[in-house]
């Protein structure tokens, strides 16, 4: 089942990342899907903010993998921010060490994950950001396996309560 929220600014997209961070657990893997300029990096930056990452999170397009230190549910974690935009062949996913980042003490965010499809764990959250340009964005959460459904509904409910219900 898919859950959808909307965002009309990059700031709101970032905030949705921040809200989601409160429901993440060590070991989580998130695939961030969307066109160039959709707001994937903004969403990732929001997650970083929510996980207490203090270093600036710039786009990893060129360098492929950035790693940060953060806090999740009271424990220290590595936040791994990847961008596979420039990969051309699925086996390059192995070479740059994508799978090594899937560990119990890490949270992994993967932009342009399509090429790594065969390597991604079934238990992951897909976050698709639809829309581009000046249009509002629709952020679609799709949890494969695991308890993502509960976590996403909890996040959306808590957000709606803060807004006074809607």
């Amino acid at each position: 089942m898919d859950y959808k929220v909307t965002s009309v600014t990059a700031e709101q997209t970032r905030n949705w990342g921040k809200y989601l961070a409160a429901y993440l657990l060590p070991g989580d893997v998130l695939a961030l899907i969307g066109d160039l300029g959709a707001g994937k990096t903004a969403f990732a930056q929001g997650i970083g903010e929510g996980l207490g990452v203090t270093r600036p999170m710039a786009s990893p397009t060129f360098t492929l993998i950035h790693e940060y230190e953060g806090q999740c549910q009271g424990t220290e974690i590595h936040l791994v921010h990847m961008d596979l935009y420039r990969l051309q062949h699925p086996h390059e996913v192995e070479v740059i060490g994508v799978e090594e980042s899937f560990s119990g003490d890490s949270i992994c965010l993967i932009e342009w994950p399509e090429i790594a499809e065969d390597y991604l764990p079934e238990n992951r959250l897909d976050v698709e950001i639809l829309g581009s340009g000046e249009q509002p964005r629709e952020i679609v959460f799709h949890g494969n396996e695991g308890n993502w459904e509960q976590r996403i509904t909890a996040m959306i409910h808590s957000k709606e309560e803060k807004l006074g219900g809607s």
Binding site: A10, A58, T63, I96, G97
Partner: protein, 344 residues
């Protein structure tokens, strides 16, 4: 040239962080005796970007012949070297490891110090290769595919990062826009070439300046503005003039870089600006800075194009100053893909 009479410091510099496998022999910080660059750019052109799998495989094939050739051309042997300097980050882990492991083995076997060099610092030190008269303090504008930084150097090894990009690097934005415009790789030079036939006033793209006085950069929104223009034209069934788009976008990026550099000079009172990194080769950027800085009596220094892209000579240059400072890396030196420039 073994058994030299006067005391000279000879550094072998090795760079393998991304596209290039490169080695150089530098004597006393100024005398570049050899400089070998084995570029994979032709391979990458086929794929429209750096393909890391190819990068690390090619590095491991190239590192030995590249080092051997650089020693042979410089007419030196391992016993003539004072130290080996190698890039240990930031970059692609597989590529970095080829250089770091190779350098470590060679330095250990030769019984000489190993120097671990930050790739970003190396880019800035490319300026010292051709300009020995640089006086501190210096302001550096480092612009490449992965980085956009403004850094003030108080002395060798003593610097403070004043600003950096909050999202895309300038070179990355140029690369992505070039790809969206169908211009190919590497994006920066292609944009520059195409822009020559375009009108830089044709499109009004935003210039992201952030908060007043901020020395940080943001190129993501500017990139999106170009994509938006392309998308909306596509929906209306129109085609936009590609040279005009390239010229207008290049102008917007250069305007921001120049504005921030001038602001940093004004805030720090520094009288010399060093350009560094791949985008430092951009002609519009150089010419605009040339013009603006002349008016303010600030000296502009930039490396020759060959030293703007990744190269071993700049690593040897940075290594030379670290050697003088008595630095040496431990034998446990590891590749650090996410290495930062920390103020120190």
């Amino acid at each position: 040239m073994t058994g030299s009479q006067e005391k000279q410091i000879t550094i072998l510099g090795i760079e393998t962080s991304c596209d290039e496998t490169s080695a150089a022999v530098l004597v006393n910080g100024v005398n570049l005796r050899s400089h070998i660059i084995s570029s994979q750019i032709m391979t990458h052109q086929k794929y429209g970007g750096v393909v890391p799998e190819i990068a690390s495989r090619e590095h491991s094939l190239h590192i030995r012949p590249v080092v051997e050739q650089s020693l042979a051309e410089a007419n030196v042997g391992f016993k003539d070297l004072s130290a080996i300097a190698v890039t240990y980050g930031p970059g692609l882990v597989g590529s970095l490891l080829v250089g770091v492991s190779g350098a470590k083995a060679m330095a250990y076997a030769a019984g000489i110090p190993l120097l671990g060099i930050n790739h970003l610092e190396g880019h800035i030190y490319a300026n010292f290769l051709e300009h020995q008269d640089l006086e501190f303090p210096l302001l550096a504008l480092l612009v490449s595919g992965g980085h956009t930084h403004l850094i003030v150097f108080k002395d060798h090894g003593r610097y403070e990062v004043l600003g950096y990009t909050r999202d895309d690097a300038a070179g990355e934005a140029l690369d992505k826009v070039a790809r969206a415009l169908g211009l190919g790789y590497p994006g920066g030079p292609q944009i520059q070439k195409t822009a020559q036939e375009g009108n830089e006033q044709a499109f009004k793209f935003p210039r992201a300046m952030l908060e007043p006085g901020s020395l940080d950069f943001s190129f993501s929104g500017m990139k999106s503005a170009v994509l938006n223009a392309l998308n909306s034209a596509h929906m209306r069934g129109e085609t936009l003039n590609v040279p005009d788009l390239a010229a207008s976008f290049q102008q917007a990026v250069v305007d921001v870089l120049v504005h921030k550099a001038l602001l940093a000079l004004q805030q720090t009172g520094v009288k010399t600006l060093l350009l560094a990194g791949g985008v430092a080769a951009n002609r519009l950027l150089r010419e605009t800075l040339e013009y603006e800085l002349a008016r303010q009596n600030v000296r502009l220094v930039y490396p020759s194009p060959v030293f703007c892209t990744d190269n071993g000579a700049m690593i040897a240059a940075a290594g030379y100053y670290h050697f003088l400072a008595g630095d040496a890396a431990p034998w446990t030196l590891n590749a650090v893909p996410g290495l930062n420039l920390k103020s120190q």
